[in-house]
Amino acid sequence: MNNSAFVLMLAASMVAATPIALAALGELLAERSGVLNLGVEGMMLIGAVVAFQTGTKTGNLWVALLVGSLAGAALSAVHAVLTITLRASQIVTGLSLTIFGTGLATFVGKSIEGMPLAVDFRPTPWGPLADLPVIGPVLFKQDPIVYATIVLGFVIAFYLRRTRTGLSLRSVGESPATADSMGIPVALFRYIHVLLGGLLAGAAGAYLVLGQVPSWSQESTTGGLGWIALALVVFASWQPVRLLLGAFLFGFSRQLNFFLQGQGVAVPAELLSMLPYLLTIIVLVVWGSRDLRRRVGAPDALGIAYVRDER
């Protein structure tokens, strides 16, 4: 029964959920500090292409993952400088980041388009646990990044709720003026969490080529996943654990699509390619109305630059 199409689909959903969850967790950290980064898609692409190149050159998965993550962080550093220090518009900067990241990835990835990667993350069965019916393949036979992502979701939840730094982070995202008057270094907090966001987006991109489909294709590697990650943060009301669940649901629906195709039910491809745009619009609508944002639980100062000498 563990080899039934449905159980395999559930197991694959976990894998499909992982990059979205990683990228979204990173974005959640940045947004909790009050910085919206619409460049997730761009950072994922850069992370993916750099990880692929590194993987080919070194043959070492972990080095490839690390370098890919750092590439994502490097791109987010641009966003941080522009929006935090120079106080440029977060929307415009983020969108430019995606355009820039996409262009750069296409350029760097030209030579490797369609090439396979020799190494990839493999599922590691947990001994006899992996043979349990249904939950065996779904929970105990996954690759390390899947587990790491789940753990990370809980760690971030704990960080936000129970630690002093997490409390400070939330205050920076809710009201930087208040945080500042309480002696919390607002800009530093924003920098760190925007960079962490970039790091995780880069890792998500890297995982796409190192774990999910070991090859690079500019067209389909991310396929709008960055936008979905952004939307996921909103749907999860900026709560990490809810975000994990949402990511799984999304992974599931993606796999369901393949599953249905296998059963002869076709979902029009146009509908799928519309998804990123649709989700972007939703994000922007929610983001655009302060009242709506508050109701869905967005950090109050999301998208607003902070200057001390102003009122």
Partner: protein, 514 residues
């Protein structure tokens, strides 16, 4: 105000200087906010900063707590020169400020707000311990609070207590309170003064900023008067009087005059509410409110904050739709039809929260003047600028110029601009029949407050219907022809001002039935 609050009793000579500023200057683009200011705060004293709107009080306090840095001059803490680069460094020196605009995070609990940014907290938070310590402080200084309550559920008075507990928790023994009573009911202000007393008796020093001379006389030991960024005098409270202080502050004698209408009112009311009920979350915020204001009279709504005044104002202004009942302006039903419909019917509404709903902080003052113009599609910038220039002169608005952004104005000056726009519009515009003003003089200095009252009076004399909503009972009594008291959304008392005593009104405000 309160006669039972005694100023500090330790002789001034035996106390050390807790905090001092010498020759402090602060410039903002186009404004000299503080010019060569000397200020001295003794241990255990309450020292009031008094001055007109824009005199530079908030700016001085901000420099004393580390929020702003002086361009020139030096700050001293217990005689030693210090440089404060941030509020964090101020707190490290035991100096904490409670701002004119609260700095709290509504989604956090009281305890979370208090421990925020405390470097002594362990990395893993211990909510129980924080709550216990917050409870301790609030008890010791008479600031009743539930540490676990979420701040967005608290009243304004409670939020202010959180602010004070915050700085006390961080070990401050110099507290700067910027217009703390502007948002409080008289009862809450009394409680605050008791707290201030218990703080000074422990040797803490308090800088108090207020425009209300009664409280200044009651609560402070000394007063430093500022005008246009300079210190113009320093007096001990026991050697002066409220009248004297007013003169020092404005530079001329001021009187609060009682103004009454001519008694000639229009035959039909211009503003009417009939059996208005407004339900919110299963509770009646307004309950069967029937009220009418005729042309040529001022009706005052008195009551403790939070008894439905804000809702009454927005409902009468057409912004909030009543659950049942009707609202009419000049006979036209405008209930819930929006601010625009109400304006068309001839109603002007000056809301309570001026920066935010009334003024756009990022726009220039001229643009702000133009916001509500509805006479033509094209804007007449030159006319607006001229009008603004006139208002700046008449209201003595301290602004760097007509093109300055609204956000740079001091709290009181921002209000003056908005009032200038609305009230003087109503005064000269023939088709404005009704005017609703919430807390017309809150945060205004006495000179400006008198001027606003005179304006409202003019609207009345010219035949307009005016509804004044205010928590300041003296104000209501000095202006209104009729007074209506709201308690829990119901009208519990109404009558001609002359026929109601302060006691009657006060009891009605507190919900005591005779």
């Amino acid at each position: 105000m309160s006669d039972n609050v005694l100023p500090g009793t330790t002789p001034a000579s035996s106390r050390g200087v807790a905090l001092a500023a010498r020759g402090v200057t602060k410039r903002f683009p186009g404004v000299l906010a503080n010019a060569d200011v000397d200020f001295e705060l003794l241990q255990g004293e309450v020292h009031t900063l008094l001055g007109e709107n824009g005199a530079g009080k908030s700016t001085l306090a901000a420099m004393l707590c580390g929020l702003y840095q002086p361009d020139e001059g030096q700050i001293y803490r217990s005689g030693k020169p210090i440089r404060l680069r941030s509020p964090r460094e101020g707190l490290a020196h035991g100096i904490g400020m409670v701002h004119q605009h609260f700095r709290l995070i509504p989604r956090f609990t009281v305890a979370e707000n208090v421990i925020l940014g405390d470097p002594k907290q362990s990395l893993l938070m211990k909510p129980g311990e924080a709550e216990r310590r917050v409870g301790e402080i609030s008890e010791r200084f008479g600031l009743p609070l539930d540490p676990r309550a979420v701040v967005s559920d608290l009243t304004v008075g409670q939020r202010q207590r959180v602010e004070i507990v915050k700085v006390l928790y961080r070990g401050a023994d110099v507290l700067l309170l910027d217009e703390p009573t502007a948002v409080l009911t008289p009862q809450e202000a009394e409680t605050l003064f008791a707290t201030v007393r218990s703080m000074t008796s422990e040797g803490k020093a308090v800088v108090f900023i207020s425009h209300k001379l009664g409280e200044v006389m009651a609560v402070s030991d000394r007063v430093t008067v500022m005008r246009a960024g300079r210190v113009t005098g320093e007096v001990a409270t026991k050697d002066t009087s409220a009248r004297n202080l007013a003169e020092l502050m404005v530079g001329r004698p001021v009187e609060q005059t009682v103004r009454r209408g001519t008694g000639q009112t229009s035959a039909t009311p211009y503003l009417e509410a009939h059996a208005v009920r407004l339900a919110d979350a299963g509770r009646n915020v307004l309950d069967d409110v029937t009220l009418s204001v005729h042309g040529g009279e001022i009706v005052g709504i008195a009551g403790v904050a939070g008894n439905g005044q804000r809702e009454l104002a927005t409902t009468l202004a057409g912004i909030t739709a009543p659950t049942s009942g009707s609202v009419r302006v000049g006979g036209v039903d405008i209930g819930g039809k929006g601010a625009k419909a109400a304006r068309h019917a001839g109603l002007t509404f000056v809301p309570e929260d001026r920066l935010g709903t009334g003024l756009v902080p990022g726009l220039s003052l001229t643009d702000n003047m133009l916001l509500t113009r509805r006479r033509s599609f094209f804007v007449n910038r030159r006319a607006a600028r001229a009008e603004l220039a006139e208002a700046i002169e008449r209201f003595e608005i301290k602004a760097p110029g007509t093109e300055a952004e609204a956000r740079v104005l001091s709290g009181g000056n921002a209000q003056k601009v908005l009032l200038a726009r609305e009230v003087s519009d109503a005064a000269k515009d023939g088709d404005v029949r009704a005017l609703i003003v919430s807390s017309p003089t809150r945060g205004l200095d006495i000179g400006a407050a008198e001027f606003v009252r005179e304006l409202l009076h003019q609207v009345r004399v010219d035949g307009g219907a005016v509804l004044v909503i205010s928590e300041d009972l003296d104000e209501v009594r000095s202006l209104a022809d009729r007074i209506v008291v709201l308690y829990r959304g119901q009208i519990v008392l109404s009558g001609a001002s002359e026929e109601l005593t302060v006691e009657q009104i006060g009891m009605a405000m507190a919900g005591v039935k005779e």
